[in-house]
Amino acid sequence: MPVQYYIFLSIALFCIGIMGVLMRRNAIIIFMCIELMLNAVNLLLVAFSKMWVDAGRIDAASAQLFVFFVMVVAAAEVSVGLAIIVMMYRNTHSVDINILSRLKN
């Protein structure tokens, strides 16, 4: 199977994530779309590692460990980001990001 199919799938998921970030104003949905973009990139990394392993050029362990570290960082990021969103909700009683555009008050 050509690796282009995986490239197109990843591009589609990534662009859907970008559209979500630009279109929605709910902070939680925007955060989820960022996760979607991270996953698109992870999928592409795994596909490329499989491609080069089949071609006999590399050992895939390093590539898959890179994806593992991306997941680790994403988990840490989500915990802090959701805490920030909860704090914002406590202060403003809304998760609309337009509230955040005015920083005073």
């Binding site: 979500g20 630009l22 795994v46 596909a47 089949d54």
Partner: protein, 164 residues
């Protein structure tokens, strides 16, 4: 059309449909559920690509921990009924058009890239825990330990921010 091609098509269709559901559904809880479906489809792709350990980690960490955390926060805020007011519709169209333009540019740029195909040969045991663990604890010990510090600081940060 081989069996791997059929599985790829089905999983891709599910993933893209669920991703569209995330950004198009009005109810945030539906968005989270669509996101979980999308992640399960991506996990299926991982196992098709001989990344068994990543498949398990993806299911446990993403669908098991992160999305449940999202669901928790969403239900704690009780946003189910409230729909975000859409005053400026042109912003929506601008976002959709710019995302579609990026999609078009990337597909056009990468359509003719000459890369080797995924043949399905190769070493299929490379994604198992044994191989990955050996590599992780020989070549990547320092990043591993650094990520533990990162987790500790993230935990402290989340508690400090949440307690205010």
């Amino acid at each position: 059309m081989g069996i791997d091609m059929i599985i790829f098509t089905v999983l891709s269709a599910i993933a893209i449909a669920a991703a569209l559901g995330v950004i198009l559904s009005k109810n945030p809880v539906n968005s989270v559920l669509c996101m979980i479906t999308c992640f399960v489809a991506i996990a299926g792709h991982y196992i098709m690509l001989n990344a068994q350990f990543l498949f398990v980690v993806h299911l446990i960490v993403y669908t098991g921990a992160i999305m449940v955390l999202f669901l928790f926060v969403l239900m704690m805020m009780n946003l189910n009924a409230d729909i975000e007011p859409q005053k400026r519709n042109w912003l929506k169209y601008a976002g959709a058009i710019s995302g579609g333009a990026l999609l078009l540019v990337l597909v056009a740029a990468l359509r003719d890239a000459s890369l080797p195909a995924i043949q399905g040969g190769g070493n299929t045991e490379i994604g198992l825990v044994e191989n990955l663990g050996k590599t992780l604890f020989t070549s990547y010990v320092v990043p591993f330990e650094l990520s533990s510090v990162l987790f500790l600081s993230a935990m402290v940060g989340a508690v400090v921010i949440g307690k205010k």
